[in-house]
Amino acid sequence: MTSRLRWIAGLILLLSLTLAVNAQTPKERFLLTFVPNIQFAPMYVAIEQGYFSDAGYDVALEYLNEPDVIDLVGAGQVHFGVASGEQVIIANANGRPVNVVYNWYQQYPIGLVASVESGITSMNDLKGKKIGVPGRFGASYTGLIALLDSARLTESDVQIVEIGFNAPEAFCTGQVDAAAVYSNNEPLQISTRAKAGDCGDVSDVTVIPVAEAGAFVSNGLIANADFIQTSPDKVQAFVAAFDHGLKDTINNPARAYLLSASSIKDLPLAPDFKARLTKLADEQNVLLASTPPPTRDDITASRAALRETLHKDFDATTLLQFNVLLNTIEMWDADVPGTSNLDAWENMANTLTAMGLLKTKVNLDRIYTNEFVPQPPASHS
């Protein structure tokens, strides 16, 4: 055998081995939006704690734009993803067979952030103001319209400025008086910058949540409709694993933050902060293991205490992402996390219809299901 043939045989062998290794570990792609972020902590926790592998899934996370997530799930190329409720309604109206199987966010996360200097303290102060949105699409725009509608204002009563996904920069450079943003995230970033004197004339911010205008369906786990029909057991197992991760995050945010660090490269985690979080996470585990088990109110109080404790010892920049997590947990927490209600879907569909984004009637009952949401064990009192 010539040396060239030996090389070729070696390459073929190497290729075969690579294919064999890959064939042994089929990955379940899970599509998230934008970039790795602490707001996806339940996913990271479920992966790190092995809940997905216990359910028979080897999950590979991918981050895409929301329409791409919906299209890939709708086309059946991927089984699961995350998308906002209003996108799911519009997508279904345009032929995408995707359903929400777990209503992750119980509150609509969009809010209007305004500087304290702008004089905007309520929806009624918005008239004539310059309001930034990423574009005339997506959850931020829909949330803004819902907010304006609740104040009996229309788009023509304000000046909408399309600023892309650059709200903090546009806000701090004075291009807008207010901006529609994820209220659990950007207001904290802007506030931290403002307090550090790094946000132009802004000294602090105020937030008007869209949730004040009513209940609107928000981000949830989506699955391909055909996959739900053909493999309900697999959907059930996936949702249960995610639910486990979500509940762990709600119950022990310090542990969730630590577990998320391997998935978020630039997550602030200085050694002293890490040591402190580890200690607090262990203490929280003791609380969770206590008898009788802590109630939901007890756990909510423990999160408030956690925030207060950390604020005494660490600066705002170190705590920024942890505070984002704590704020976001309040949007997930519920007696039965993951449950959808029809009113929230109807409110959203009505808003979309008024905006002209929903031109056909959609059967909302068939867009979501609570069938896979794990129910709490029945009490025996």
Binding site: G95, G138, G164, T173
Partner: protein, 278 residues
């Protein structure tokens, strides 16, 4: 009386001259037909693919759906308005970036010292993808058209700079010597030697820049929204209107192609002397 010539019967019976189809005309038709063959083949393959439902219609919509979306977007003014906005940004960006590239390319071509000084900075700037710093442009210039025009100008600048530089550098030294011996002024050298000699290369650069200019403007629109073809595509994506996404993409292609053809026509006009010389 002139006798009919047996050997040349046509000369005695005047008939309508036989219509011939000259080879040159066939060649001309063929030349115009060939570029249409590829799009036609793609269209047929596309129609075949959608008729077989290989992919769902929301991934690859049938050509008829795209045609309907096109008619709708034209009739309700969405497409002309978006096209006009992008075209404006492209033309301003192309003019500014092109002129800057031309002037700087000329200076660098004439003064190698300046090239040594500026080259690292220019190459570093050019090798950074525009999308990476496009969000910064929003902070510097706001969300209006300026950021998009700047993105466009940046992207068209480099090809024209490089081609002008190469065009100026490739002028034979013997010709330069002739102008020097004849004591030609700077203006005479520029207009009678440098520009005519470098023009073919500069126009090639302009062709590249013209097509890239659409990318520049659209990148700006994708980053900071507003209006234009990039925004049309983004909005259509979030409305799950795939046929309209296709309309937006084809419009961008058509715009880039029109600009390329315009420069090609300009090239034909400006370089007529060169063809005549050959």
């Amino acid at each position: 009386m002139r006798m009919p010539n047996a050997l040349h019967p046509s000369s005695s019976f005047p008939t309508k001259p036989k219509r011939t189809f000259p080879l040159s005309r066939i060649r001309l038709y063929w030349r115009f037909a060939v570029p249409l063959l590829t799009p036609l083949a793609i269209l047929l393959a596309w129609e075949w693919l959608t008729s077989r439902a290989v992919y769902p219609a929301f991934i690859i919509p049938p050509p008829a759906d795209v045609a309907r979306a096109f008619i709708q977007a034209v009739s309700d003014g969405t497409l002309p308005s978006a096209l006009w906005v992008t075209l404006n940004q492209v033309m301003i960006g192309l003019t500014l970036g092109g002129l800057l590239g031309l002037c700087l390319g000329y200076i660098l071509g004439r003064l190698p010292v300046v090239e040594s000084l500026a080259a690292p900075l220019i190459v570093a700037f050019q090798s950074t993808p525009v999308v990476a710093y496009a969000p910064l442009l929003l902070i510097w210039f706001g969300s209006g058209p300026t950021s998009k025009i700047f993105t466009c100008a940046v992207i068209v600048f480099f090809p024209l700079l490089m081609n002008t530089l190469v065009g100026i550098r490739q002028i034979p030294a013997s010709l330069k010597d002739v102008f020097r011996v004849l004591r030609a002024t700077w203006w005479q050298t520029l207009t009678r030697l440098e520009l005519p000699s470098a023009l073919p290369v500069i126009l090639t650069g302009l062709k590249t820049s013209a097509t890239l200019s659409v990318i520049g403007a659209v990148v700006g629109e994708f980053v900071s929204a507003g209006d234009g073809l990039g925004t049309l595509v983004t909005s259509a994506r979030y409305q799950y209107n795939t046929p309209l996404v296709y309309v937006g993409i084809f419009s961008m292609t058509a715009l880039a192609l029109s600009l390329y053809l315009s420069v090609s026509l300009l090239e034909r006009g400006l370089l007529r002397w060169q063809r005549a010389a050959h």
